[in-house]
Amino acid sequence: MDNLIKNIEINPLKTSSSLGAAVFFLGLKNAVVLMHGAVGCASFDKVTLTKHFRENIPIVTTALNESGAILGGKDFLVAGIKNVYEKMKPDFIGVASSGLTETNGEDIAGIIKDFKDGQGIPFADVIYAGTPDYKGGFEDGYTAAMLSLLAEAFNRNKNGIPIKKSAKRAKSVNVFCPPSFTPQDFLELREALEYFNLNPLMIPDLGLSLDGHLDERGYLQTTSDGFDAKNLQDIYNGEFNLIIGLSLKDAVKNIEGLTGLKTFYLPNICGLKNSDKFFNLLSKSTGKEIPEKYKRQRRQLMDAYLDAHFYFSGKEIALALGIDLLDSFSAIYSEIGANLKLGITTKIAGDIEYRFLDLCEGDLDMLDTCGNADMIVSNSNAKFYAENLGIPLLRAGFPIIDEIGHNYKHYILYGGAISLAVESANLLNKE
């Protein structure tokens, strides 16, 4: 409510929908993101993403100038797509729009379609996500890009492009993860699914593209790996869809409709209960028993919770995170019995209010009201508040630019809950 009075964001927690779309596109193989807007729209995003992932981030711009801004950006967009293709040879070009290019109401999807239809030769896949920066946030842009890609698959399927039947060694399953997943989260989830003899098609796959591996090819101009859009039609070979994340809840119906497959939805897979749900679901739908490795991890988690819980006693935590991480982390903290004094997010969703003393939508400046909390959990931008208030900061979310190693951390399933419980307990225990 406070924000209504001040009419201004002070050290925002929120980021834009175009950034969310860019992150989605970065999870595709041999891809480049083309930001349709002024040069700054791409460069601000590129700078932050590069610092966060510590990887080269292939984002380029259509470089709209004054005349493009007023008279329409069609020529800029078409030239941008052509130049990117010639210079960087991507298999996939993800186009995200901006506040600037959506304000004049141009038919960007139409321009791209005309352009693609006019190409006689095989060309890269070009997918457009409408991401006006004045509408929605990070998660909305990510979801918009996801649905654009699925709509493309749907159209191709409808137009009779034959589905390639794979030699079914392992059952294929389509997995849709929230933008809050770290690259390591993607990899851990993949491994868990493979234990059930499933072949996961992760859309997008930030685990393969941004996990911070040294590629034998050295420096690359495009993403090195990720979900391969060439295999887009493979989603119709899937046994079922698995959708994870509170922010993807509204997209569940759409994904189900576009793929025509049975769909399972889990708001999050963090903490003991939620991980149990995940493994039980897999066990039931594959008819396989839960692997010994995870049974063991489950017992480790219960023990880690016991070891950790003393340090949470009488302590209060303030969290400023996107909705997916806020849900995931608060689920874990609630299981340990931590007091969650304040939760700040950009768009409240789900039934999570009961976990917090106070839950609100807002900016990082609201951390000033958390006064005597014992730990803040938020991104690097909260460092200023944490230092001023003399409260330790556990870095999570986006962006993390003043610490390295974030792409190797994971918070999902039993192992992830162990990490968070232990990391938090140690920080709370530090004098």
């Binding site: 601000f44 590069t50 941008g80």
Partner: protein, 451 residues
């Protein structure tokens, strides 16, 4: 509504980029499909945000500020920490339809009442420029009400690149801040100068000030590292403007020369030779014989001290090959610093350099024509050049960090992301140590064998 940027800002007589052809004006933007540098907003924000008792409000949808703030490494001491805050009106769909002047007005009032700043910069951006918000009107109204400068900055990104944004910010300072106040007597020294284009990255300003103070020079105002609104207001009382590594802010220096008659010189403090030259140029411009003598003595002492301290590094680094890729003015000033350390620059970027910069490189460092001039900043080209010429290290901006290290070539950041200060005599030691340990690091050999 104010859409167009002053034509004057594109026409910089002192900038070689002005070019012969009319359409090849200074500071126009990049080609579609290229990897990007920042926009005008980025450039303006970089210049104005280090002023520590002013607030910076970006009137825009969330992306312009929200996606990337709090990432500069400018430092400030003693006083307000407003440069750590990012403010934005975060325009939404309703604001687009119904207008958001009132939201902006109420936002400014809120932050003014809470922070009591000495000045407020309001950045106009692409979307409000298109919808025709009267940012100028709101600023004027509130400036009169609060009796502090509330300065509209017309930095919409579609107008041009980062350099243009630097100029727009310079223009905003010139129009609304500079010359609005007289300095107290005790703030004036015997010889007063301003530093323009120094943002105190990693505390570099403090090192430069230390050197200048040692010979009796008083830095009256810094535009804008570790500065205050008041200090910039009375900057017109200086007798010399020293523009540091910034072609874009030569615009401001030229305007100040025209209006206040303050001469300006362009200098760099990268490396010992450059620092020595800068100090001598400054005292020569002021023209006081006693000062000149003092400066010469100081330089002699510092040169000897620095040479001693960098001796071991230099022994190792002599003859090692560097590929330098950085923009404009910084190229030649860094080459000078690297030569001081015995390093050989085998190639340098000239994409952002003016003809004057290029001539200077050739004249001062490349008499035999051995340095490869890289006009193409394409990372693939960079790596190819480094490999073909057996470069021992790449020195470039952060955007090329992963280009280099993923190719297993040692790297050092020489742009604003740098980890330690590089300027003046102390900075030279830092740079020597960093290049030394980077080239010497056995990690690169290990990984090359393992990949």
């Amino acid at each position: 509504m104010r859409l167009a940027v002053k034509e004057e800002l594109f026409d910089e007589p002192s900038c070689e980029h002005n070019g012969v052809a009319k359409e090849k004006k200074a500071c126009k933007t990049a080609a579609p499909g290229s990897s990007t540098g920042g926009c005008a907003l980025d450039g303006a924000y970089i210049v104005l945000s280090p002023i520590k008792d002013a607030l910076n409000i970006v009137h825009a949808p969330i992306n312009c500020l929200g996606n990337s703030y709090n990432q500069r490494t400018s430092k400030a001491v003693n006083g307000k920490d407003y440069y750590m805050y990012g403010f934005t009106t975060a325009m939404n769909e309703n604001d687009l339809i119904f207008g958001s002047e009132d939201k902006l007005r109420r936002g400014i009032i809120y932050v003014h009442n809470r922070f009591k700043p000495k000045g407020i910069f309001v950045y106009n951006t692409c979307v409000p420029a298109l919808t025709g918000e009267d940012v100028e009107g709101v600023s004027k109204e509130l400036s009169a009400k609060f009796k502090i400068p509330v300065v509209p900055v017309f930095s919409q990104g579609f107008s041009g690149n980062k350099n243009l944004g630097n100029k727009i910010a310079g223009d905003a300072l010139f129009t609304h801040i500079i010359g609005k106040k007289e300095p107290a007597i005790d703030l004036l020294g015997d010889f007063n100068i301003n530093l323009i284009g120094e943002y105190n990255i990693k505390g570099e300003l403090f090192l430069i000030k230390k050197a200048l103070k040692s010979i009796g020079l008083n830095v009256l105002s810094t535009i804008t590292g570790d500065s205050t609104i008041e200090e910039i207001m009375y900057s017109h009382k200086a007798e010399l403007n020293v523009v540091i590594c910034s072609k874009a802010l030569v615009y401001l220096a030229r305007k100040m020369k025209e209006k206040f008659g303050i001469p300006y010189i362009e200098e760099s403090f990268f490396g010992m030779t450059s620092t020595n030259k800068a100090v001598i140029d400054i005292v020569n411009s002021i023209g006081n014989m006693e000062l000149v003598k003092k400066a010469k003595d100081y330089i002699k002492i510092m040169t000897k001290k620095t040479e001693e301290k960098t001796y071991e590094y230099k022994k190792f680094l002599t003859g090692k090959k560097v590929l330098l890729y950085t923009g404009g003015v910084k190229s030649w000033s860094l080459i000078s610093a690297l030569n001081d350390l015995g390093l050989r620059v085998i190639a340098t970027g000239i994409k952002k350099s003016t003809d004057e910069d290029k001539l200077r490189i050739i004249k001062e460092f490349d008499k035999n024509g051995n340095i490869i001039m890289l006009d193409n900043g394409n990372p693939v080209n960079l790596i190819k050049t480094a490999r073909e010429n057996n470069a021992d290290i790449i020195l470039a901006g952060g955007r090329n960090q992963y280009t280099a290290i993923k190719s297993l070539i040692p790297f050092l950041d020489v742009n604003q992301e740098r980890l330690e200060p590089y300027v003046s005599y102390e900075g030279m030691e830092c740079m020597a140590r960093l290049i030394y340990s980077e080239i010497k690091n056995p990690l690169f050999k290990l990984l090359k064998e393992s990949i």
